[in-house]
Symmetry: C2
């Protein structure tokens, strides 16, 4: 197998990438100057050597110690933990600059209500973290408002209940800029139900 | 800038990739075993060292010599050259296993009828190839049936005319499996016009 095929195979395993896009990536790279390819190789090598996963929240990072920049920041509110499906959700949350608590990345969602799927998530680590940190008062469940997200949220609600902390979920309702007449029934229903 | 940001920047320059997908790529790679990252690094290094561009058709390849596997294959019909916009179009053509001639990758399309844009394509190289190869009898212009593709095809038709070879274009008409009642006017018109 030549390098074109090899690279194509590797890229087609990337999320959202099919064989056609993978081929476009390869031809794009072939036309790049060698310095740019070196930059990519160096960044990959750096990642391989330096990446660590935060021993509290599972967010990848590269600074000193066992905790990521968020968990080791003394300015963050250690009494609140927000459960996220994946790392990119955490980035979206951080961008709002409105959340000062900690995170915990559970590592996926449960597509159907099968207990074995749920156990593949970081449930044991989460339980252990909460038991070891009595300062945690509130756990925010922040999954996508999709079937999978809602099912996973339900699982976590039940799972966390015995630990006796306050459990909250993100509000559902109209997104900013939405128009009432085009809102779907579910969204409108949730907006009505959650009115205050 | 840490490696996460660096990789995100590099990936977001890939075709069809935005900043969000680039971030997903990075987190995907972070979770891969190190051996898989090594495979990617090795394939990139191999590409950097071994990639060559065919001295006839501009297709990238890695075997011995100056000509790619297609151009150096004695079984291919050297009297026909097919003009393609890009490498992935060539792959699509090869997959049909119905074309036995050679290719020439022009390297793009002309979005508006500006002569300077056309001159950025490999027009001089094409002219030189055809002049040096009197055995070439037919030139197939095979660009996408889009506004850009058609405009570029028109340019090449005019450009190649003085060279006195037969110039053909891909047939336009109904795609296999299409339903008449859902076909757009242009397609239906082309199918009618090209009837035989």
């Amino acid at each position: 197998m030549n390098f074109i095929e090899k690279l194509k195979n590797i890229f087609s395993k990337f999320p959202t990438v099919g064989p056609r896009t993978a081929a476009r990536f390869v031809f794009y790279l072939i036309e790049r100057p060698k310095e740019e390819i070196d930059e990519l190789i160096n960044a990959l090598n750096e990642m391989k050597e330096k990446v660590k996963t935060c021993s509290f929240c599972f967010n990848p990072f590269q600074s000193e110690g066992d905790l990521c920049e968020i968990c080791s920041n003394p300015g963050r509110d250690k009494t609140t933990v927000c459960l996220m499906e994946k790392e990119t959700d955490l980035i979206a949350f951080e961008k709002t600059k409105k959340y000062k608590g900690l995170y915990f990345i559970v590592g996926g969602t449960v597509s159907n209500l099968k207990k074995t799927d749920f156990q593949k998530l970081r449930t044991n680590a989460l339980e252990e973290r909460i038991k070891n940190h009595p300062e945690i008062q509130e756990i925010i469940i922040a999954f996508n408002p999709t079937t999978e997200g809602e099912a996973t949220a339900l699982y976590f609600e039940r799972f966390l209940k015995p630990l006796g902390r306050k459990i909250t979920k993100l509000a559902k309702g109209l997104p900013t800029g939405a128009e009432l007449e085009y809102a779907d029934d579910e969204t409108l229903g949730a907006a009505l139900e959650g009115r205050k």
